[in-house]
């Protein structure tokens, strides 16, 4: 099914995105005329070094930030000038986030962390199912302080997918993990993508991870400098770095 992406409906379309920040008296162009289309069911890796603009792009896609100029469409809806309420609704229904540092709530157990998102979603899966999906059925009554980093990240993934989002946005999901655990987490992301047909956008500075993508975009200094589809898609377990 991955071959037919070009027929799939468009989820994100960004046109001529520019994002500038003023740092004191200096103006920094974090995104410089970026255009991009992301289709449903795709697994996209955005690759780039620190400061390349990949996170800024993801923040705009995720409704956490707005562009200085240009347009961003989510399923034909123009999000460019959406207000805070609309962006909140968008994040609530459309996207699931996975952060580098997990950001799970320390006062809630694994199950309750997932339930927290299920409570506000329109048609969530069962929280226990989401945890089963990431292989944490036996740890669901544990608190974050009782879990390893990899387990915490898997809770974060379960939390992100439990609401059945259109798209899963993962920002350096393996950044804080050792190699072995990192592979385990990527495996879970891959599994979610495969079993739920969720669109995945994964940003990383780690070129090896690009090898598991349907499509790779490389960024440098706020511009897309390269876009390609790997000839051979590797399974996460086959990756090394």
């Amino acid at each position: 099914m991955h071959e037919a992406h070009s027929d799939r409906p468009v989820i994100f379309k960004v046109e001529n995105l520019v994002k500038t920040y003023s740092m004191g008296e200096v103006e920094v162009r974090a995104l410089d005329d970026v255009s991009l289309t992301i289709r449903s069911g795709e697994q996209l890796v955005i690759l780039g070094a620190s400061g390349s603009g990949k996170s800024t792009l993801m923040n705009i896609l995720g409704g956490l930030d707005t562009p200085t100029t240009g347009h961003v469409f989510y399923r034909n809806e123009d999000l460019t000038h959406a207000n805070d309420d609309r962006l909140t609704q968008f994040r609530r229904r459309g996207v699931g986030f996975v952060f580098q540092f997990y950001n799970i709530i320390p006062s809630l157990t694994a199950l309750e962390n997932v339930q927290l998102v299920c409570d506000i979603a329109d048609s969530p899966m069962k929280a226990t199912d989401a945890l089963a999906l990431v292989g944490l059925s036996d740890r669901m009554h544990h608190f974050p302080s009782q879990m390893s980093g990899g387990e915490q990240q898997r809770v974060a993934i379960a939390r992100a997918v439990a609401k059945n989002p259109d798209v899963l946005l993962c920002d350096e999901p393996t950044g804080a993990l050792d190699f072995k655990t990192g592979i385990l987490v990527l495996d879970v992301i891959e599994q979610v993508h495969r079993e739920l047909d969720t669109t995945v956008v994964l940003i990383t500075h780690n070129a090896s991870i690009a090898e598991m993508a349907d499509r790779v975009i490389r960024m440098q200094s706020g511009k897309i400098v390269e876009e390609f589809e790997p000839t051979v898609r590797k399974k996460p377990s086959e990756l090394t770095w």
Partner: protein, 787 residues
């Protein structure tokens, strides 16, 4: 300035919200301490030096008529240093411009010299002149209230005859620093005052030539007041002595000493409440500060800063807050002290009463504040000092949560994760949460008790003036009259009903317990003066025996069924053993009631009366007053309506001031607690809340998570506060009851409602201040940052 100090000041600016809350709490504590403690020492100092310069007496005695020849005998009592004899009488006064008659106590003074004791301080004018029997000196309070001054005339009934007197001066006396008419519970300077007339003139009018009916004594240092009193009583018994009293029982002195003592006590416990709150707030603020600065602590240590300099650095935060609060508190304390003094000078007459802040009070304020700062900072500083540099460089390990007690209950499984978060955050810090609850409870209780005092006064007025005292006017005769006089009273203009009473002074004794008072005899069939119990029910006077107020019964350690010794202070002065047949929970302190007929039998009289309660047609009040003024047999008249008005005027302002202060204090405490807790929760959980926003929770939802904890703690604190308030309201009437009156217990839903609304509003308003900060949470930063 060292770099570390620059860091201190920059960070203080950053933490200003929390510091302001703490400063306000400390300022309230210092202000109340400085004001009350300074007021205490100002009053005490003024009183002591005034008593000394005016030679205020140590022992007081009144009698019917004592020949001057007895004086050497009195003067030779061991311990007596000086003696001054006088004639003291109660008179009716016609004040120009005042429709109703006023009353006054007239005290004689020597025309040719200053009195040996209780000397007057002339505010204006001059001394009475020998040979001028119409000269009079007025008390300052009475003169000011009635706009009278030197040169004005005033009419007084002297021994049954109206006399016009010339005011030669206005003065104050240590004996009447506060002027309360005998038997009254309130100050009414317009209708009651003190006057001083020449001894010659007064003695002549009252058949006291070569005799006296009042004497005051000063004692040598170390002399026993009680032994002198006993000796005086023995000597004067045959002259109708009412029994000598010490300074402690002298009315003016007792009222003012109570006030001074109250200031002394309040200066202790009110600041303690504030300082406890301040120490708590400083503690939670600094513990949080140090935990966010672990990294910097490590770096400073790595650079070679000593533990001491790091400790001093963090103590510095507390010291700045505390000194800020102290300075503000001193300024406020001085301001309120001056206001308070102004209020005092309206009731208490001193030659001069100036508000001064003694140095030791100021030094003590600073010392107490610094101790509070060190206490507040101690646990935070300890954790900073104990942190090994390498440990400090690592981020704090994730907050460990575990299932709490509540998690064991089934209902917890069905509550939302948001509720879980709120409950677990409270459970994770049981001590901090409990203290917050206690503080909120305290603020609630302060409000309830504050309003209770208001209600208590309302209660006194309602009970006394609407339920017990239903007459329009109460007349007292100069001396007991035979009962047909009641028919004469009916002829006064507008008088519709007359109920006579007889009042006889007695000493009540139950074993070792003695109490001086008066038995009031009332007719069985009465409507104008009721005896009312604690629940405002009218109580019958038993056909035989005595009806005592419960306060008096307690003082005498006597119960219904006990018999006590009743020593008559009139007629044949015999002592009779009588049973207590009933006790009433009346608001008037020391009262004994009997039926008129029973009292007459006791004093072996045939229907004499001391006065009467009247119902008067209001349209004819002016004529009534005019006639009363012309009736020499009447010594005084108390008009219910004017008494009520004057009571309201005097106390309502007073009450308003203290209620405002109480509400302010409660709001400051509640604000301080809620603001600091919420601000710290925000700082601790900013990342968590931002992540939740990223996940799609709305601002409203994360507000519930953040403030839910504060609201829950407030909701836990309020009922506890209501319970504490209830206990206080039940305890205060006993704590404050005096011989004169007792404040009734009251606990109204309205007061509880008000306290709940105020405390809840403070929580909500404070919460909304914090909520604004949620709008500026950086959602992007959270993705890149570690807790």
């Amino acid at each position: 300035m060292t770099a570390l100090n620059i860091k201190l000041f920059r960070e203080i600016r950053h933490l200003r919200g929390q510091l302001i809350a703490i400063i306000l709490v400390i300022a309230s504590g210092i202000a109340s301490f400085v004001m009350m403690r300074s007021m205490y020492s100002s009053l005490l100092l003024t009183l002591t030096s005034y008593y000394e310069t005016a030679r205020f007496a140590d022992v007081f005695v009144s009698a019917r008529r004592v020949p001057e020849t007895i004086v050497p005998q009195l003067a030779s009592i061991n311990g007596v240093a000086a003696i001054e004899t006088r004639t003291v009488v109660d008179v009716m006064v016609d004040v120009p411009g005042l429709k109703e008659p006023a009353s006054a106590t007239v005290v004689s003074i020597p025309e040719d010299r200053r009195p040996n004791l209780n000397d007057l301080h002339m505010m204006s004018g001059s001394w009475v002149r020998p040979g001028h029997e119409h000269d009079v000196i007025l008390s300052a309070a009475f003169a000011e209230a009635n706009h009278l001054s030197q040169g004005d005339q005033i009419s007084v009934v002297i021994n049954g005859k109206w006399k016009s007197l010339l005011i030669t001066g206005v003065a104050i006396s240590p004996e009447y620093i506060i002027e309360v008419s005998p038997g009254s519970i309130m100050i009414d300077n317009k209708r009651y005052g003190v006057m001083w007339m020449g001894r010659e003139a007064l003695s002549a009018a009252y058949d006291m030539k070569g005799a006296f009916n009042s004497a005051v004594f000063s004692l040598y240092p170390g002399a026993s007041v009680n032994s002198v009193r006993e000796k005086i009583d023995v000597i004067l018994k045959q002259y109708g002595s009412m029994g000598a009293i010490g300074r402690g029982d002298q009315l003016s002195h007792r009222l003012i000493s109570d006030e001074i003592r109250q200031n002394e006590v309040s200066a202790l416990y009110i600041p303690v409440i504030f300082f406890s709150v301040a120490v708590f707030l400083l503690n939670i603020a600094l513990v949080r500060l140090v935990s966010t600065q672990r990294m910097y602590v490590a770096i400073l240590k790595a650079f070679g800063y000593s533990n001491l300099s790091i400790a001093l650095h963090y103590i510095g935060f507390a010291v700045v807050a505390v000194l800020g609060g102290t300075v503000l508190g001193m300024i406020l304390g001085y301001y309120f002290g001056v206001q308070m003094t102004e209020l005092y000078t309206r009731f208490y007459r001193f030659p001069i009463l100036r508000f001064t802040m003694p140095e030791d009070v100021l030094v003590l304020s600073v010392v107490v504040s610094l101790i509070a700062a060190v206490f507040g900072a101690s646990s935070a500083v300890r954790s900073a000092v104990q942190l090994p540099p390498a440990e400090a460089m690592r981020p704090e390990s994730p907050k460990a949560f575990k299932s709490g007690i509540l998690d064991r209950f089934a209902f917890m499984r069905s509550v939302s994760p948001i509720t879980h978060m709120i409950i677990r955050n409270i459970e994770r810090r049981p001590v901090k949460s409990s203290i917050s609850v206690v503080m909120i409870a305290l603020a609630t209780a302060i409000l309830i008790v504050g309003r209770f005092m208001f209600d208590a006064v309302d209660g006194v007025i309602d009970t006394q003036f609407n339920r017990a005292q239903r007459d329009d006017a109460a007349l007292t005769f100069r001396q007991p009259l035979s009962s047909p006089a009641a028919f004469d009273l009916l002829r006064l203009p507008g008088v519709m009903r007359v109920e006579c009473f007889r009042m006889v002074g007695v000493d009540l004794r139950n074993g070792q317990y003695v109490k001086r008072g008066a038995i009031t005899g009332l007719p069985q069939d009465r409507d104008l003066r009721r005896v009312v119990d604690g629940r405002n029910r009218s109580v019958d006077i038993p056909a035989h025996g005595l009806l005592l107020t419960s306060f008096l019964a307690r003082q005498l350690h006597a119960r219904v069924g006990d018999s006590i010794d009743v020593g008559l202070l009139e007629q044949d002065r015999r002592t009779v053993r009588m049973p207590i047949t009933a006790v009433v929970d009346e608001i008037m302190g020391v009262q004994v009631y009997m039926r008129n007929e029973e009292l007459w039998k006791l004093v072996r009289e045939d229907g004499t009366i001391s006065g009467a309660y009247l119902k008067v047609d209001h349209s004819k009040l002016d004529d009534f007053y005019a006639r009363v003024k012309q009736t020499p047999a009447i010594a005084g008249v108390m008009v219910r309506e004017t008494a009520l008005r004057s009571f309201n005027e005097t106390y309502s302002e007073n009450m308003w001031i203290s209620t405002t202060a109480i509400v302010f204090f409660a709001v400051v405490i509640a604000f301080g607690v809620v603001y600091n807790s919420a601000r710290i929760a925000l700082s601790e959980r900013g990342n968590e809340l931002a992540s939740l926003r990223v996940l799609g929770l709305t601002r409203g939802e994360i507000t519930i998570i953040l403030l839910g904890e504060q609201v829950a703690l407030t909701m836990a604190g309020i009922p506890i506060g209501v319970a504490i308030g209830y206990a206080m309201c039940a305890w205060l009437p006993t704590a404050f009851e005096t011989d004169i009156f007792r404040i009734p217990f009251s606990f109204t839903l309205r007061n509880v409602g008000l306290a709940v609304v105020v405390i809840f509003s403070v929580t909500i308003v404070t919460g909304s201040l914090i909520r604004r900060r949620l709008n500026t949470l950086d959602l992007v930063a959270v993705l890149k940052s570690r807790e």
